[in-house]
Each structure stands twice: as C-alpha cells, then as structure tokens.
Symmetry: C2
C-alpha cells in the first residue's frame, strides 16, 4: 500500500508492504553514498539486505536503547559522514525503531544543512508513529526530544514482515499509538481492536493509522495548532517514561497509561481498558506525583502563561486542547492511574 | 533603515541603524526568557545594554574565535536553555560576530525543534553577510559549516555604532562581502568603494549590501539554484580559511582572495585589486595547491558527478555557475593567487 504525504515540495511516499526491504533499491536511488544507521536490536539479516542494495553503503550500528538518542550519537553520525566524504547528493537511511529514526533523521537534517533521508522503520511503534510526520530529535539528559528538527523524509518504507521478529511486548507497545489514532480520528480503526485480532490484520492497522496521522500532519506540519492533538496521552505519558525507576515501561505503554485520565466518558474509558487488557497493555500505575509534575514542567507542553496544554477526548473522534493550571493538572495525576 | 526579508511565514525585518541596540526592547518582545549569546571579543557594555532590556536574560559568553563554532558549544547552549526551563515561547538572542550568530542560530533552530531567534550582529562581516539569510552552522573538526540548519531569524538588529570599536582589520574584513555583493548584483555599490571612503558611508554600504543579498535569498531561500551565486569567492576562500598554517587570515580576506581567480575580465580584476589595496585587503597569497584541493573536495560545493561548481564573474553584475573538473580546478589554483 502506498500513502502519499502531501506537503508541497516536501511531499513523500510511505510504502507499507510485506517484504518491501528486499526491493528498496527499486523504490529509492541507492547508487550514492548511503549512511545506513541501525542498532544492535535489529536483526543483522535486515541490515545485510539493505546494504546489498547500496552501491556505497556505510553502516553505523548503535547500541540498542534510548541512550543512543543523544547529542553524542548525533555528532558521531555527522563525523562519519564527513570522514566518508558525503556530499549534499548523498543519503541517510534509518533502519530500526524510533530511536534510530529520530537521531538519524536529525543528523540528515543537519549535515550540510540537510540531505536526503529514507526511513525504514522495523518496529510497530516506528511504523505507526515516529517514522511519519517529520519530527526528529535527541534527548538531553533524561528529558525526551529537547533538541531536534522538523525534517521530512524523502521516503518511508515500512516492511511489515519485520514485525514478526519482535517480542510480543514490543509488537503490542506500538499498537498503543494505533489505538490513539483510532480514538482521535477513526472510530472504525478503534473498533477493529475490539472486534478483531490485531496480529491478523497488522498491515491494514498500520496503513490506517498512518493515514489518520497523515491527515493531521498535512494540515499542520509544524504543530502550530491542530497537530497538537497527536500529543494525546503524551503529557503524562512522556513524564512516566522520563521518570526513572518506574519499571522501565516502553513508550507506547506510557502513552496508553497517559491517555486514560484524558478520556472524559467513563464508558469510553472502560472500552479502552478492555482493549488494553486484550492486547496486553498496562491499565494502571502508581508513581510519585511530584516527580511527574517536575518532568511535565520541563516538557514542551508548558505554555508561556505557565498553564499546561493537554489533549482531552470528549468522545471517540472528538478531542480538544484544554489549558490546565498547575493545580488542576496536579489534582489529575495525584493518585496515579487506576 | 528597515529592510524586510519577504519569505512568507518566515518573513522578518532587518534594522540597520546607529544606536539600535539601546532600544532593542522596543523592537522585540524581551519579556520572556532570553538566552543572550555573546563572546569575549564583544565589549561588555553591549552585553549589559541588551541584558538590561530583558526581563529574564540568561547570558552565555563564549571564548572568542572560530573554535567556539562547534558541536560542543551547540550542546552547551541547548543544555543551558533546558536547565533554565526555556519553553517554545522563549528566545535566543545572538550578540556578536558570525561565529556567535551561526552557533546560536543553530541552537535556536534545534531547541524544542525551533524557538525565536534574534540576531544582533556587531561586526561588519556579520552585519553584511552572516546575519542575513538564515544559514546557521557549526564546524566539524577543521571543516567549516558542515552541520547546521536553514533557520530564519525573527529579527535582525544591526547597530552600526558597534563597528566603531572594531580594529581596522576587522572592520575591513567584512567589507569583502560588500565588494562581493557589488560585483555580483549592484555595480553602483562597487563603484562607491572606488570613489568614496567606506568608513564615511558605512550604514549605507551595509544596508545596500543586505538589500542585494535579500533579493537573492527571497528568490531561493534554500540554495536550490540562484542563491549559489553568493558562494562567489568561497570555493577557494573557504579552503584557504580551513587550511591551517596560512597565517590566520580572516574569512573576508579569504573570500577576497578567492574571488580573484573567478573574475574573467583582466580589467575588472585590476579594478578589484585596486579596491582591495585602498581598503587594506590582501591581493595575493602562496599556498600548497594539493592541500587546498583536498579541502575543496570536502566542502559542500562538490557535485554528485565529481565536478566542482564554482561561481565566475563574466562582468560586473553578470555571474554564472560553471562546473569544473578536478583537473581544471587544480590548474586554476595551482600557483597560488598573484
């Protein structure tokens, strides 16, 4: 399936298809220097498959984990490109999850002020969410995505066969963003989670989630307004994720938790919890509310007037951005999510 | 004088005026967190003048020199903003020469994927050239501007009073870019250098140089075509500048030298040399041609087909981009510039 993100000169195609990594050389011009950025969590077979189709591939394999999403890695990628004589005509290709795509995309945006970037996400989360929309970033210290760029890829290739080698927990983790897309924008997508087995229709779920996100990004590429609804679940979710010592939850799991207090109708909340249970996503957590507040203060969601913009779901398909005072937000998160 | 750079949503004003730093608080909203980036070469008086107009100014004073234009400084600026709780509503203000503006602008482009950037250039070179047009960058190792972003400021304030505290050599250094603007785009500007004393009409020279550059940037913000003519003198100039051990020439001096072999008419070349002599810019240099070629290979001007795009001046006001083979370029630079 091909989805086209229509952003004028920055438009690009998103290919969602089983086995597409095996023919990426036909989908993109790889007859140039290609920095192939991956990590130790990605099966070597995929890396070999891509490199075999590059005429001058330069592999860089990062250590798996959020720690690689740093200014240090950013500098390493830039230096490797420079040492290999990369010019503006060359390409960065990310092959992996969100960490790989985010840091490789940021490096592509900065090298000679921007060279071609191809994103090949290999996790459910990256295919559904992080590879689409042009947000690239690194973390600073413990805080997520503090530095980065809006930089659109020139092509996204989501080979859904790669999802078969994920652990069940990793596979499900990414589905939280698909549930989010359904709740915000596509009730039919949400009800599929209630009525069907996600594994059996995963290519459709991914394509449908991307299409939902695409409709928002096309209208607000740089998050001046509408796009902020995609932060649904992320205010508290990011904070849980950033807060060390909470048991190492994954990004999607944190977003799943973070959406729950923002769902206004108890009936919808019950349906969402049922979907989480069916998939194996967490439905509750206890945490130190003061620590969570401290992280939220540092996140990008605090407004100039000191209030916090959060996305609330009035009903499925209807969301709005509310400004909460620090006290209101504190009251909402005080007791954990139960 | 006010010049408006018209780039749609990214449009901004450039104020060229004596004493404008003293009223920057009226020109821009500084009632927010403002990272004031400067360096040890900038008189403290200017820094105090700006800070006094900020409600929450955070000064960062870099060590003067090209060494500060690094990924390390970039990281430091991002970390200082994060530690001081900067949000998307806050501002970066650069107060200094091109190094300060380039690295501060790059940090502004990346912090939370972009916050407001005000550039207050205090050198002739920065006022004429680097503060206008949205190119930000850092160096990698010895190579100039390898990483950066196209990121337009929201305001440029060029207080021409600050030029009075520059050494004569620094003052003249920046005029090379004004001579360049005249040769490429504005013969009247060029003839002023022949007929008048630059110091006496410096505000006009700066405004006229900016206007020439503006006309090009408006038509090609991201250097897809036309804007490349502004690289006139920079292919060899950058290489001379990057090449250590050549006696520490300044950027403008290197560009002045780099323009000479690219001027096709001997009569024009003679006129340009006369202007250089009048101003005190260098007119000749000896160097190791192999070393120069090696630097040019790494620069952003090498094309995908291995050729080198250089800007040549057919006559005053008429330039073109030529593709030279490595052999042609080597022949051109072989013997130094005499």
């Amino acid at each position: 399936m091909k989805i086209t993100m229509r952003l004028g000169k920055r438009s690009y195609d998103i290919i969602v298809k089983e086995g597409s990594l095996g023919r990426i050389g036909q989908l993109a011009n790889l007859a140039r220097r290609v920095l192939v950025v991956s990590d130790t969590g990605v099966p070597e077979e995929y890396i070999r498959t891509v490199l075999a189709q590059c005429s001058a591939g330069v592999p860089v394999i990062l250590q798996q984990g959020e720690g690689a999403k740093s200014l240090e890695t950013f500098g390493t990628l830039l230096n490797v490109m420079y040492e290999h004589g990369f010019t503006r005509a060359d390409t960065v290709l990310a092959l992996g999850g969100g960490v790989v795509g985010d840091v490789a995309g940021f490096a592509a945006s900065a090298y000679m002020r921007g060279i071609r970037f191809i994103n090949c996400p290999t996790t459910t989360l990256a295919q559904i969410d992080s590879s689409v929309g042009g947000k690239t970033a690194v973390n600073l210290g413990g805080a997520k995505n503090v530095a980065g760029a809006f930089y659109q890829p020139s092509l996204v290739v989501a080979d859904t066969d790669t999802l078969k080698t994920l652990t069940r927990r990793h596979f499900v983790n990414g589905l939280a963003e698909a549930v989010k897309a359904g709740l915000l924008l596509d009730e039919t997508l949400f009800t599929r989670f209630e009525q069907e087995n996600a594994e059996e229709c995963i290519t459709d779920i991914i394509a449908r989630s991307i299409a939902a996100k695409q409709s928002v990004v096309e209208r607000d590429e740089r998050e001046k307004g509408l796009r902020a609804i995609l932060n649904f679940g992320h205010t508290i979710g990011h904070a849980i994720e950033s807060c060390e010592g909470l048991g190492g939850l994954y990004h999607g799991e944190c977003v799943a938790l973070g959406m729950l207090p923002m769902i206004e109708q108890p009936a919808v909340r019950r349906r969402v919890r049922s979907v989480y249970k069916k998939l194996g996503l967490p439905t509750q957590i206890r945490y130190d509310g003061d620590k969570i507040m401290e992280f939220i203060r540092h996140d990008k969601k605090q407004c100039a007037d000191g209030s916090f913009a959060v996305v609330r779901l009035a009903q499925i398909g209807t969301s709005r951005i509310d400004k909460l005072s620090a006290d209101q937000l504190r009251a909402m998160i005080r007791e954990g999510i139960r």
